[in-house]
């Protein structure tokens, strides 16, 4: 009977979640920084 090494399984899935989740967060952050100046410009133009 082979050992199951659940710790390695958890580590592998944690790394995948961190990498893919981290990239998604980067995209969300980029989107926010791109939208912020546009909103500011629109607000100041509306005044």
């Amino acid at each position: 009977m082979t050992s199951d090494h659940w710790g390695f399984v958890a580590a592998a899935y944690a790394v995948a979640v961190l990498a893919l989740g981290g990239y998604w967060r980067r995209l969300v952050h980029l989107e926010r920084t791109l939208k912020t100046p546009t909103l500011r410009r629109r607000r100041s133009a509306g005044r």
Binding site: T2, V9, A12, L27, E31, L34
Partner: protein, 215 residues
């Protein structure tokens, strides 16, 4: 549209996790550590497809100089690097209990590492010049060279004697795994493919918005 793709991708990833942990059986030889394969293998298939998009986008850009083709290639390269990074990291974590080592310089691992470095180079070379058009042209050449290395990665296990096993599914003849394992791999592949498509679509939109903001 992109938002809905994200929701569907999330559902696909969740379905993949259910298949990997609740449906797929415990593998007889390796035990439960084999469950790492449900993220390791689909991640590299998805990365290969992303790099195929880089190849097509780069050729289209060199041919037409259309900024949309360069944006597509750029977005796909970035996302492909993330998925290939996941593949390499999860492979190392699987390798330690199975092979007794995190890493070995055999033909498959080395060729994958070379492709990873080439596509990091693809992302860096864009920043090396002040002229974005010139950077895009250099990157397109690097992208084509990187993508042409993928057949070398796939066939490395046949051409050289390696510690890495030959493909279980992407090979001629019957698959060397049970149908339940095959189904779990397929569902995880579809889930990660949807996630990859969502990332590329979102990154493409952001690159277009960045270019419009600086124009």
């Amino acid at each position: 549209m992109t938002r809905w793709l994200g929701v569907v991708a999330m559902l696909g990833v969740l379905a993949g996790l259910v298949m990997a942990f609740l449906v797929a059986p415990r593998e007889m030889t390796q035990g439960n550590v084999q469950r790492i394969m449900y993220v390791h293998v689909p991640a590299v298939w998805v990365a290969y497809l992303a790099f195929l998009v880089v190849l097509l986008g780069s050729v289209a850009y060199l041919w037409s100089r259309a900024p949309a083709a360069d944006r597509t290639a750029h977005a796909a390269a970035e996302v492909g690097v993330v998925f290939l990074g996941v593949n390499i990291a999860t492979g190392a974590i699987w390798g330690k209990p199975t092979w007794g080592t995190w890493w070995t310089w055999d033909a498959r691992l080395t060729s994958v590492a070379v492709v990873f470095v080439i596509f990091i180079g693809y992302l860096l070379v864009r920043q090396m010049t002040d002229d974005p058009e010139r950077g895009a042209r250099f990157a397109a050449v690097v992208g084509i060279v990187g993508a042409l290395n993928i057949p070398l990665v796939h066939f490395s296990v046949y051409w050289w004697r390696t510690l890495h096993q030959p493909p279980t599914f992407a090979k001629p003849g019957p698959a060397a795994a049970s149908s339940a394992i095959g189904a779990a791999l397929l569902v995880n592949f579809v889930g990660l493919l949807l996630l990859c498509a969502y990332f590329i679509a979102k990154r493409y939109d952001l690159l277009r918005a960045q270019q419009e903001a600086t124009a």
